[in-house]
């Protein structure tokens, strides 16, 4: 049973879209409004605001202060947290420690990204610099290219095939259709994924998630505050974090993501549970190969055996371990700073029994796996009711 000392009492998310018709402050308010209505608390109960995003997509410097003002949270302290694509789960870990220490009893974790302010090619350039800017970026790197190298290594080491990757996208689209906040809601056939053009071999267009604009918001509280405000608090059981060398050359192997494996081990140890105890999981499927690497890093499959899980449909809603039944990043889109908070929202709704058409029956323990950069920052969170 989880230690009941830090809880999630409210979750919210904007629709993830290709071009949000407003500024970043307004985009953030969308998720904040939903989370505060969900929590049912007045804004003066928020004692600190953690804003999570990656820089250089919009022009605002130090966005946390602007957002603190727009949300009406002054004089609550605020600051920005960045760990690339895992920024909002890093913010979650900090909020956890704030509450656990007693420094603040109620904390708002707000993630956002408005990627449509720049072109898709410029997005790739920014992401390519989310790597070793001195020794890697000068060769023309990008996120798809890095994950493609992990896919190629998995193919060579374990016999994984493009067909296995395509099955991950087909599953994502099965559930993406049901998610009204997803950017991509069309059903995708196996043939469509296989016939799409290459982005960076062996990854094809539909192996990659889309850039998006979006925001997410998670309200966290101490046990006392959770009991005061919330009928259905969801408790934090495990927080695991790890970091791998930024430069691929400095890593010992390319068989999987060590930051995720170590973060998972830490989260399981803290929660006192194992992979077999997880009822529902959200993993960082920025690319199809990333979901297969996640199965293995989290112990849902042995190293090299991730493809078997998707071939056997074990990660579908009816399977042994449902993964990304909200459509994942592949369907929802991936607004960098907002992504982890969106994953958390899905798990919280699952544990409350409020996930609707994608509800995993009687889900008691859920897991979030959120990765920053190409296996640079690993955050794994375990929640329970």
């Amino acid at each position: 049973m989880p230690d009941k000392d830090v809880a999630v009492i409210g979750v919210g998310q904007s629709a993830f879209v290709r071009g949000y018709p407003g500024g970043i402050r307004e985009l953030c308010f969308e998720a904040y409004r939903e989370a505060m209505q969900d929590a049912g608390i007045p804004s003066n109960e928020i004692k600190a605001l953690i804003v999570c995003c990656a820089p250089e997509y919009d022009k605002q410097r130090s966005p946390s202060s602007l957002i603190d003002e727009y949300l009406g949270l002054n004089p609550a302290p605020t600051f920005m947290v960045e760990s690339l694509c895992s920024s909002s789960t890093t913010g979650f870990a900090i909020a956890y420690s704030f509450i656990k220490s007693g420094l603040y009893d109620t904390v708002c974790v707000l993630g956002f990204q408005k990627m449509s302010e720049i072109t898709s090619q410029d997005v790739q350039e920014r992401m390519g610099r989310g790597a070793d800017v001195m020794w890697e970026s000068p060769y023309g790197t990008s996120m798809p290219a890095y994950y493609a190298m992990y896919a190629q290594a998995h193919f060579a080491n374990f016999g994984t095939k493009s067909e296995d990757l395509a099955l991950v996208r087909v599953k994502a689209s099965t559930y993406g259709q049901l998610n009204e906040k997803a950017v991509y809601r069309k059903k995708v056939s196996f043939e469509q994924v296989m016939e799409a053009g290459l982005v960076s071999s062996p990854l094809k267009v539909m192996d990659c998630c889309a850039n998006a604009d979006g925001s997410s918001c998670v309200i966290m509280a101490s046990a006392d505050k959770a009991k005061e405000f919330s009928k259905k608090p969801v408790w934090v059981m495990g927080v695991g974090q790890s970091n791998a060398p930024m430069n691929l050359a400095s890593r010992e192997h390319m068989r999987g993501l060590e930051c995720a494996r170590i973060a998972g081990e830490k989260a399981y140890a803290m929660a006192g549970v194992g992979p077999q105890d997880i009822d529902v999981a959200e993993v960082h499927d920025c690319f199809t190969i990333a979901e297969i690497l996640a199965y293995e890093a989290l112990g849902f499959a042995k190293p090299g055996e991730g493809p078997r899980l998707i071939r056997d449909k074990e990660t579908y809603l009816e399977g042994k371990i449902p993964v990304n039944v909200d459509g994942g990043l592949l369907s929802k889109g991936h607004p960098i700073g907002a992504t982890g908070g969106s994953q958390l929202r899905t798990i919280v709704l699952q544990l409350r029994g409020e996930a609707g058409a994608i509800q995993v029956p009687n889900a008691e323990i859920g897991l979030v796996h959120n990765i920053g950069g190409v296996g640079i920052y690993g955050n794994v969170l375990i929640l329970g009711r």
Binding site: M134, Y139, A148, S201
Partner: protein, 137 residues
């Protein structure tokens, strides 16, 4: 100064390992080693996190390495469009690894993880310089 010449497009000008580019210009591909820890690093660095020494020595990269993984890039970030398609790779040198491109001469050839490659100097048309790898044997 000097490091702005490294790679297709550099994002860094000043570093303590700027000598890397001078060495490339004389045809040598090298990295640094901490003599005290007997450890070779890539990327090259002048600070050893093992013993905190600030005096590392330059050593030549071996002639042969093994391809750990690669990708053929078809969609380039801003500033690299003119090079498409291009191959990115990680190569293992038994003790350290290097990141770089595979030579454009390998486009269309049968590239396999585990194959032997050798590091070579590439001079780009705009005066930039870098290391890359080409099939060996």
């Amino acid at each position: 100064m000097g490091f702005e010449k490294f790679g297709r497009k550099s994002f860094t000008a000043i570093t303590k390992v700027g000598e890397y580019v001078d060495k490339l210009e004389s045809g040598e591909i090298s990295t640094t080693r901490c003599p005290k820890c007997n450890k070779t690093y890539f990327p090259p660095r002048m600070d050893c996190p093992g013993c905190l020494s600030g005096s590392l020595e330059w050593v030549k990269v071996p002639d042969k390495g093994k391809l750990v993984s690669f990708t053929n890039v078809k969609y380039a970030p801003t500033g690299f469009e003119g090079d498409l398609p291009y191959l990115l790779a990680v190569v293992d040198f038994d003790g350290f690894r290097m990141f770089g491109r595979l030579s454009s001469s390998m486009q269309g050839t049968d590239i396999q993880v585990g194959m032997t490659v050798k590091p070579v100097v590439v001079n780009y048309d705009n005066g930039q310089i870098a290391h890359e790898f080409v099939a060996a044997e």
